[in-house]
């Protein structure tokens, strides 16, 4: 799954570049005046974008998020940028969760995260959720915390272990079980783990006192090509996940905008009169609302417990505030089409209004909206990126290019890791650039005035062709 995403993203990237080159090429050497290579690439590219969006949507709407964090390292890894890395590796942050099952009991079980149903049974689907705290609300773990104080959790049954009293779900170590006989505090538990593993596992408490942390010193470390960020998340994986977030916000919010806009604009353009006047006033009201500030307000109302729905809130708000342009385009088109004879003839045939509007008029008038939509997608991505950069949009563990950009500066040390800024920056640039290219290409292919460009000074090759094409037997010259 990870690799599918990698392949898709890189192919999308290649297509972007290919399209950019093709577009530049066709601009220069367009002899036939027809959209040829550029058009085909643009179509391919649109296809790839749609595919990416689909995958992004599935990823966003479906339960499991892309596993972006590698807990066996936990510290910042600079990947291929290690050469430029001034900060030495730091291995102090393994992340593990302790769940109490039956307080006072003598048995601890450690289960690996992946593939085990135990983690899901415990409800630990999201590694950084607050509900996973092992201690009673408000408390924090210390070495002296008595095991009795640990919160009650559900018991977990499976075939090998009928019932354990404590379970640690971790990514960093293999499955094992130890007896906690005689242990009274967390310190005792950690000591037991270290002793039982013969020093292979280091155990400790996280500095925020929320988690028990295990580090398998013998475990193989995975490779992070683009390195990891400050909490140990793989940058490449986060970039890919952020692509899905950005594209799904872009396309879904534009989809919402286009749907509202078409319905609204169609009614205004077709019925005219007071519907039109009222509609235009509503549009003006909406245009007066600054999108960014309304988004900030909405975000202010979304509490931290609703963070996982932030994505949808942003889609809805951006969509609800971007429909004015599509509506105006459709209105203008429908006003033109309304008096066309085929619409009159459709009415004279007794077709219902719905069919006239959406079956007969819409396909004839939707092109300007399509052009505008590609720019709207780019704008929506910009807004999301900007908000996330300010720390108001997608919050960890979700990933977003803007959020990754802002993470380029280490908040603790103030050190700027330029590669952490460049990668999401390049992604934002390429995506928005590609969408603008699509918009331009669509507009050019629709505009009849641009098609046979015979007015610009012809190049040598074109001149020959043009003359040949226009030569008539018996004509002048």
């Amino acid at each position: 799954m990870w690799w599918t995403a990698v392949v898709m993203t890189s192919s999308a990237g290649l297509l972007i570049i290919a399209h950019a080159l093709a577009a530049l090429n066709t601009d220069r050497n367009d002899e036939s005046g027809k959209p040829s290579a550029g058009g085909a690439t643009a179509r391919l590219f649109v296809g790839a974008m749609l595919l990416l969006t689909a995958s992004g949507l599935v990823g966003t709407l479906g339960k499991p998020q892309l596993d972006t964090t590698d807990y066996s390292i936990g510290a910042q890894d600079h990947g291929v940028f290690a050469l430029f890395a001034p900060v030495p590796h730091d291995h102090t942050k393994p992340q593990v969760y302790l769940r109490n099952q039956r307080p006072g009991g003598p048995y601890l079980r450690v289960v690996p995260w992946g593939g085990s149903s135990a983690a899901q049974d415990l409800g630990l689907t999201d590694s950084r959720r607050d509900g996973d705290l092992a201690v009673e609300a408000g408390g924090s773990l210390t070495l002296d915390t008595p095991l009795r104080a640990l919160r009650h959790g559900q018991g977990v049954r499976n075939r090998d272990q009928p019932m354990a009293d404590f379970t640690i779900v971790t990514r960093s170590v293999q499955r094992f079980s130890v007896s906690l006989y005689g242990a009274a505090t967390i310190g005792d538990v950690l000591e037991t783990i270290e002793r039982t593993s013969g020093g292979a596992i280091q155990a400790g408490i996280s500095h925020d006192g929320r988690r028990v942390e295990l580090l398998d010193l013998t475990a193989k470390r995975s490779i992070h090509l683009l390195g990891t960020d400050d909490v140990g998340s793989d940058v490449a994986a986060r970039l890919i996940h952020a692509t899905r977030v950005a594209l799904s916000i872009g396309f879904v919010s534009t989809g919402i905008a286009v749907l509202i806009g078409i319905t609204f604009g169609a009614a205004m353009g077709y019925f005219g009169g007071w519907v039109d006047i009222l509609g235009m006033r509503i549009i003006e009201i909406f245009m007066a609302i600054p999108r960014l500030f309304l988004l900030l307000t909405v975000i202010a109302f979304i509490g931290p417990q609703w963070n996982q729905y932030m994505l949808y809130a942003m889609m809805a708000v951006i969509g609800a505030l971007s429909w004015m342009n599509p509506a105006r385009f459709i209105r203008a088109e429908f006003m033109r089409l309304r008096d066309q004879e085929f619409v009159q003839s459709a009415r004279a045939c007794g077709l219902p209004v719905r069919s006239i509007l959406f079956k007969h008029m819409l396909p004839n008038g939707v092109t300007p909206v399509l052009v505008d939509a590609s720019f709207t997608v780019a704008a929506a991505i910009f807004i999301e990126t900007g908000l996330s950069f300010l720390g108001l949009g997608i919050k960890p563990p979700g990933s977003s290019w803007g959020q990754m950009l802002s993470g380029a500066v280490d908040p603790a040390s103030g050190v700027f890791h330029w590669w952490l800024a460049i990668l999401p920056g390049v992604m934002i640039f390429l995506t928005v650039f590609a969408l603008n290219l699509i918009g331009d290409a669509l507009r050019d292919s629709i505009d009849p005035k641009l098609k046979p460009d015979l007015t610009s000074p012809p190049r040598r090759t074109r001149k020959v062709r043009v003359e040949r094409r226009h030569a008539r037997p018996g004509g002048r010259s």
Binding site: E341, F342, Q344, S345, A348, C349, G350, L351, P352
Partner: protein
């Protein structure tokens, strides 16, 4: 006077009832400069298998009349001020939009002037005909295709099944007009409103299309309201002519009567302004030259009593013409089956003639 009225009543019972009748129709539009009357006091009647031609220059209200029949006038700014449109006993003006959907295309079909733009460019010919068929007839998709093929065959398009999959741009103007006719006739309407069906076509195609319409009309007992400004088309195809000017009917007669003995100065001017074959003239008479001559308006029998042809540039002979809420002109039956639009005067107010209704068909003569 009593005898005249009795006579009228007897006459009307003896005559066949028209299938379609417009009585004293008035339509006006709101505009920035106030209310503008597009049609004022129009009356006509159409019998089955009959062609009534609505003739007049641009902007005289021909198309507005046809659009009003199907309630296609946008309201506002349009408004139906007066009158009724009776189709088989129902007043079309009082029908709701939902009821109108059944009438449009199903019972009354319309074909438009511009075949080049009357078909939706993004759908195939077949899609468009089949959609209309499915809308008005309870048939399956398969049967609808068959009906569409038959309709295409009827209008003389070769390889109809194949052509159903073609797009409008693949057809020539004449073929598109045939498709429009096929589409209009696929649902077996009883009345066809043909709004200048041949204006955009060249003369050969025009003749073909009109012949086709006449054939189809004969086969299906269909009535037709033919809107045109081409007097040649009128002479060849119409049974009854309704000559319009500035929203009023100026003359209403059978096509033979109108061409042989026109009574209204405008009609006379119109005929004089046309070149005639075999006649050498340096300069044709203009309509204005006829209508600007006051003597032309004094020729009707009963001029002294107040039977004066209506004309907008003229001073009304009577204050009655200015009465608000009523048409300033009335149709007066100057001789049997020949009406002339006259000013509303005291005399005509007390001697009303019956509403224009001629059951004449040129086929019946043969």
């Amino acid at each position: 006077m009593t005898t005249t009225q009795t006579q009228t009543i007897i006459d009307s019972t003896a005559r066949p009832r028209p299938m379609f009748e417009i009585a004293d129709l008035a339509v006006s539009f709101d505009s920035a400069g106030g209310r503008i009357g597009a049609v004022d006091g129009l009356s006509l009647a159409i019998h089955p298998r009959q062609t009534v031609a609505l003739v007049g220059e641009s902007g005289c209200g021909k198309s507005v009349t046809a659009m009003t029949v199907l309630q296609l006038i946008p309201r506002p700014p349009g408004r139906f001020d007066r009158g009724s449109i009776l189709f088989e006993g129902r007043d079309l003006l009082s029908l709701t939009e939902k009821q109108m959907l059944k009438v449009r295309g199903g019972e009354i079909a319309m074909i438009f002037q511009e075949p080049m733009t009357s078909l939706n460019p993004v759908y195939t010919i077949g899609d468009q005909i089949i959609e209309a068929v499915l809308l008005h007839q309870k048939v399956s998709q398969k049967e609808a295709v068959e009906i569409a093929v038959a309709a295409m065959d009827d209008v003389g398009i070769s390889k109809p099944a194949q052509r159903l999959r073609a797009y409008p741009h693949q057809f020539s103007g004449g073929m598109r007009q045939r498709v429009m006719i096929a589409m209009a006739l696929a649902c077996q309407p009883k009345l066809l409103l043909a709004d200048e069906p041949t204006t955009a076509l060249d003369v050969t195609i025009q003749a073909q299309i009109l012949e086709l319409l006449a054939d189809l009309q004969r086969d299906r007992d269909m009535a037709m309201m033919l809107i045109t400004h081409d007097l040649g088309v009128v002479a060849e195809n119409a049974d009854v002519v309704c000559m319009m000017y500035a929203g009023r009917v100026v003359e209403y007669a059978t096509v033979y009567d109108l061409f042989e003995k026109s009574h209204h100065p405008y009609t006379r001017g119109l005929f004089k302004s046309m070149p005639k074959l075999g006649e050498i003239k340096h300069r044709l008479t203009t309509i204005d030259e006829v209508t600007n001559d006051p003597d032309q308006f004094k020729k009707l029998p009963g001029y002294e009593k107040g039977i004066v042809p209506w004309w907008p540039a003229m001073v009304p002979p009577d204050d009655l013409a200015k009465s608000p809420g009523r048409a300033d002109s009335v149709l007066y039956e100057i001789e049997p089956d020949h009406w002339v639009g006259c000013w509303r005067t005291e005399y005509l107010e007390h001697h009303p003639s019956r509403r224009p209704d001629i059951a004449f068909r040129r086929d019946d003569l043969a």
